[in-house]
């Protein structure tokens, strides 16, 4: 008999949800969807509605800026265990850059509208989620600042 794993199991296996209590995680799993993107496929475009955010199970995605007349400029690549799409938390809820799958990438995503509704009703869940998101954003900001130093010098 084939055992089908639920979305809750996917959440439980992802480092972002490590240590989260079962009730909170199951509540979040109610907004989740399992997805797969092929290499080269765009997951999001800059300026489009940020109606989902994503947790990488396996694969690599590139955060890019669209540059007129040429290929996108890659700002950062993200890998297994990473999270992307914090625009769902900040009005006006639009993507701030493009997201492209660099290779076959498996993710699960959470529906932002569904989630915002749940968080309005359950503030402790909101606090729990934001407490996990802020360090991700802080690390991303720190990395970007390090990149801005052009630390290896001009070549």
């Amino acid at each position: 008999m084939v055992k089908v794993e639920g979305l809750d199991k996917l959440l439980a296996d992802h480092p972002f949800f490590k240590g989260m209590d079962d009730t909170s995680r199951k509540t979040l799993a109610g907004c989740a969807r399992n997805e797969r993107f092929l290499a080269g496929e765009y997951i999001a475009h800059e300026g489009s509605p940020a109606d989902r955010f994503y947790f990488i199970r396996s694969g690599t995605v590139a955060l890019e800026y669209h540059v007129p007349g040429r290929d996108g400029l890659i700002l950062e690549t993200l890998h297994d265990g990473d999270v992307f799409g914090w625009s769902w938390m900040v009005e006006p809820y639009v993507w701030s850059n493009d997201i492209r799958a660099v290779e076959l990438t498996r993710v699960f995503s959470l529906d932002a509208t569904c989630l915002r509704k749940k968080l309005k009703k359950d503030h402790s869940l909101g606090f729990e989620l934001y407490s996990r998101f802020v360090p991700v954003m802080a690390r991303r900001l720190s990395s970007t600042r390090q990149q801005l130093t052009d630390m290896y010098g001009k070549s």
Binding site: A62, R70, D71, G72, L73, I74, L75, E76, T77, H79, D80, G81, V102, E103, S143, Q146, Q147, T149, D150, M151, Y152, G153, K154, S155
Partner: protein
């Protein structure tokens, strides 16, 4: 006896201050501003014995001297190799030299990477930009005795894909089944399928044992600082971290004081330091 020691010491100093002529046998352009030269001595049959991490003073005749780390394999002393970035008058003069031209060489000088001390541990190499060159002899030495070490990790960051030094060698190391190699660049276009982001981001997924690891870091000081922050956050002990410092070295034997760094001379006590030994100095602004 004392007189004899003094005389011996004077001779040693004189030897250390006298450049030996070497001939360039090969020149390779690695990057737009970085090149590698292979040198052979005019009259030294025993080869040029050195330890990984040491440096030489290279003398472009009539122009001046610069300290340059040795970047060749310590097990092949008959081939002295230096990778050099063309950034100043002396390195520019050296960059204009061709096969058959001569250079003056003094050395080797300075402390070495703790290759022996690392036996029995995981080893993590973190290099940024041209910082891979001084680490290459350590990588060669570890790979020559690979079974003596635990997990071997090489993490390398560069500005862009066209600034990745020793690309072919990185691919060769990555092709080995006993070495983990991860490379990242600060920015790239679509033709780059590798990582984009700072080198510190590679540390978390390198999967080494932070309690039984020796880490060797070389790159710009700001990159080393960020790397140390990430390593200590991952529970690596400060005494297990080694850095290669760069200062204005002139005499290379601790006499002139140009490279003084707190109570240390980088040329003599360094360039490789255990991080714990210089941690407080790295916090001093302007030093």
């Amino acid at each position: 006896m004392i007189a004899s020691s003094k005389s011996e010491s004077d001779t040693t100093t004189l030897d250390a201050m006298t450049p030996v002529p070497f001939t360039i046998t090969k020149r390779t352009q690695d990057l737009a501003d970085t090149f590698t030269i292979e040198l052979e001595p005019e009259n030294r049959s025993e080869g040029f014995v050195f330890q990984p991490g040491q440096f030489n003073m290279l003398y472009a005749f009539g122009v001046g001297e610069v300290p340059i780390s040795i970047s060749g394999d310590p097990a092949k002393p008959h081939k002295l190799i230096h990778t050099i970035r063309d950034v100043g008058a002396v390195t520019h003069a050296i960059s204009n030299l061709k096969k058959g031209n001569m250079l003056g060489v003094r050395g080797p000088f300075g402390s070495a990477w703790p290759v022996e001390e690392a036996i029995g541990h995981d080893v993590v190499i973190v290099a940024g930009g041209i910082g891979l060159a001084p680490l290459r002899p350590a990588i060669d030495a570890i790979l020559a005795n690979r079974t003596q070490y635990g997990r071997f990790v090489i993490l390398y960051g560069a500005r862009s894909p066209s600034d990745v030094l020793y690309m072919k060698q990185l691919q060769t190391w990555r092709g080995r089944l006993d070495t983990y190699v991860d490379v990242t660049v600060d920015h790239a276009g679509h033709d780059w399928a590798g990582n984009v982001g700072v080198v510190t981001r590679l540390i978390g997924r390198a999967n080494f044992d932070p309690h039984h690891t020796k880490v060797l870091i070389c790159g710009p000081e700001i990159m080393m600082r960020f790397t140390i922050q990430e390593l200590t956050a991952q529970s690596v002990d400060k005494d297990d971290i080694y850095v290669s410092m760069e200062r204005n070295m002139k005499c290379a034997i601790g006499h002139c004081g140009h490279c003084q760094f707190g109570g240390h001379f980088v040329c003599k006590d360094g360039p490789v330091f255990p991080y714990g030994r210089i941690e407080s100095l790295l916090q001093v602004r302007g030093l």
